[in-house]
């Protein structure tokens, strides 16, 4: 550790690459190092500032005027580099532009809409458990964490049945692309053309079934809230961020419940804890590990002076386990008061699909808890590597019916 160079006085320079395979395989020791080194650190490998404590992550998320999103929420600075795809109109936008598009998606994914889809989502979760009980031995990622969202979300959006196999690979490109130009990112983008073509096509109004989330977005054009050119890009946001995230969220919850049988038995005793069990898994595993911001001016953050146009990497996962904020941060506790965790972000960009994610998580875990006595891991879990998303590639399990 040295304290020289671009990052001014007092900011510790760390030789840590948060997108390196070893880091991604087991981020926890490095998260602790980053948190304990100081409130703000500098990562020489990619020339970015980093924040890993809860207070600073929360502060950066809640000051969008200083820490903007329109220059990209990945490492690439849109002011200096051409984005790999047209920027998102919501994720990669600042107020006032963001305020308008955000209002549209908030309306399409509101609590009122969730009440309308709840029964459908719950029935599909029951059907998934029926299938799992037939199988007994299965891969909890492919057969549960992927199969369940795939059985409801594309339909809820109003997508055609053909071509849905592009959805998870497309999302994987999007989340790899937030990272640095490492192998994960390069290979993802090289292979992205067919997935991009599929997604661009499905975002068009004529390809979205009436009544679905996609059609509801296009209907906002008629209300004058957005233009006909903006609607497809907002549908694209749901295709990018709405599926793989919940796959990893549900995967995280099942992995937690299989690893911590005491928490599973609490959930079995009281399935009404399902929603909290899912939320705690989002805190504990943080399926979305990181996002960047770019400074719009020189700013002082917890004593560190950061110049204009600097990238700041927010370690959401490290903040979610910061002992300054959480009691016993490394234990998975389904009755924890999780309010305030940053697994869905915080402030104006806080996940607009959070209600969809919670609904899926709640009904899936409820169905599992009611009908399954035991979940046992029967083989070595395999990790899926992505620059932004944390989750498993496979998790072999066997279940015992209740």
């Amino acid at each position: 550790m040295t304290a020289s160079g671009a990052a001014g006085s007092g900011v510790p320079h760390l030789d840590v690459d948060p997108f390196d395979m070893r880091f991604l395989a087991d981020p926890y020791p490095a998260h602790e190092l980053l948190r304990e080194a100081g409130p703000v650190v500098y990562l020489d490998k990619w020339n970015v500032y980093g924040v890993a404590r809860y207070a600073e992550v929360h502060a950066v998320l809640n000051d969008p005027a200083t820490f903007c999103s329109s220059r990209g929420v990945g490492l690439s600075d849109f002011k200096k580099e051409t984005p790999w795809r047209p920027p998102s109109l919501i994720l990669e936008a600042d107020p006032p532009a963001h305020t308008r598009t955000r209002a549209v998606l908030s309306k399409v994914l509101s609590p009122t809409v969730m009440k309308q889809v709840r029964d459908r989502f719950a029935e599909a979760a029951e059907a998934r458990v029926d299938a799992l009980l037939q199988m007994r031995n299965f891969d909890a990622i492919a057969d549960l964490a992927e199969a369940y969202p795939l059985s409801i979300f594309p339909d809820a959006l109003g997508l055609k049945p053909e071509g849905r196999e592009h959805l998870i690979p497309y999302a994987s490109v999007v989340f790899n692309a937030f990272g640095p130009p490492n192998r994960l990112r390069q290979e993802a983008i090289e292979r992205s053309a067919p997935h991009q073509a599929y997604v661009a096509e499905q975002c068009q109004r004529e390809n979205l079934a009436p009544g679905g989330f996609g059609a509801c977005i296009h209907a906002q054009v008629d209300e004058g809230a957005i233009t006909a050119n903006e609607a497809p890009l907002l549908v694209r946001s749901l295709l990018s961020a709405g599926l793989d995230t919940t796959v990893n969220g549900i995967g995280a919850a099942v992995y937690c419940l299989a690893r911590f049988p005491d928490q599973w038995s609490r959930l079995r005793d009281d399935p009404s804890l399902a929603r909290g069990a899912f939320e705690e898994a989002v805190r504990f595993e943080s399926p979305v590990q990181t996002f960047f911001r770019t400074t719009t001016r020189e700013v002082e953050l917890s004593g560190a002076k950061i110049g204009e146009g600097e990238k700041v990497l927010m370690f959401l996962a490290a903040a979610n386990r910061d002992p300054r904020r959480w009691d016993r941060p490394d234990s998975y506790d389904i009755t924890r008061r999780t309010s305030g965790h940053v697994g869905f972000g915080s402030g104006i960009h806080m996940c607009v699909g959070q209600l969809v994610a919670r609904l899926e998580g709640e009904v899936m875990l409820t169905a599992l808890a009611r009908r399954i006595a035991k979940i046992e891991i029967t083989g070595e879990p395999k990790r899926r590597f992505n620059n932004t998303l944390r989750g498993l590639d496979s998790l072999p399990v066997t279940i015992t019916p209740a």
Partner: protein, 107 residues
């Protein structure tokens, strides 16, 4: 510091001392009060911090923004004329003694 009284659905009540500048939701969660979930952490996105404000206090609260109004249509318990999102009510000294009722459920 201003104090707030939360009345639970079973009629029991909790009096909570608040810190300056926080919201009614934050005061409740900081005291570990049951009945306020606040899943979105106060970002006006989840409607799980729903309260019924005592009628005598309603007019003294800051006005509701459009997004709060829309979210209240999606609360788990019925929406009433006295419904508010507690994360959108910042406690000021003149709200000392505020009384709010908790709904039957938040999700």
């Amino acid at each position: 510091m201003p104090a707030i009284t939360f009345i639970h659905p079973d009629g029991k009540s909790d009096r909570v001392e608040t810190a300056g500048g926080e919201s009614v939701m934050q005061a409740a969660t900081r005291h570990g009060l049951d009945g306020i979930l606040a899943e979105c952490g106060g970002n006006a996105m989840c409607a799980t911090c729903h309260v019924y404000v005592d009628e005598s206090w309603l007019a003294r609260l800051p006005a509701m923004a459009g997004d709060e109004d829309a979210l209240l249509d999606g609360t788990a318990a019925e929406r009433r004329p006295t419904s508010r999102l507690s994360c959108q009510i910042t406690i000021t000294p003149d709200l000392d003694g505020l009384v709010v009722k908790l709904p039957e459920r938040q999700v």
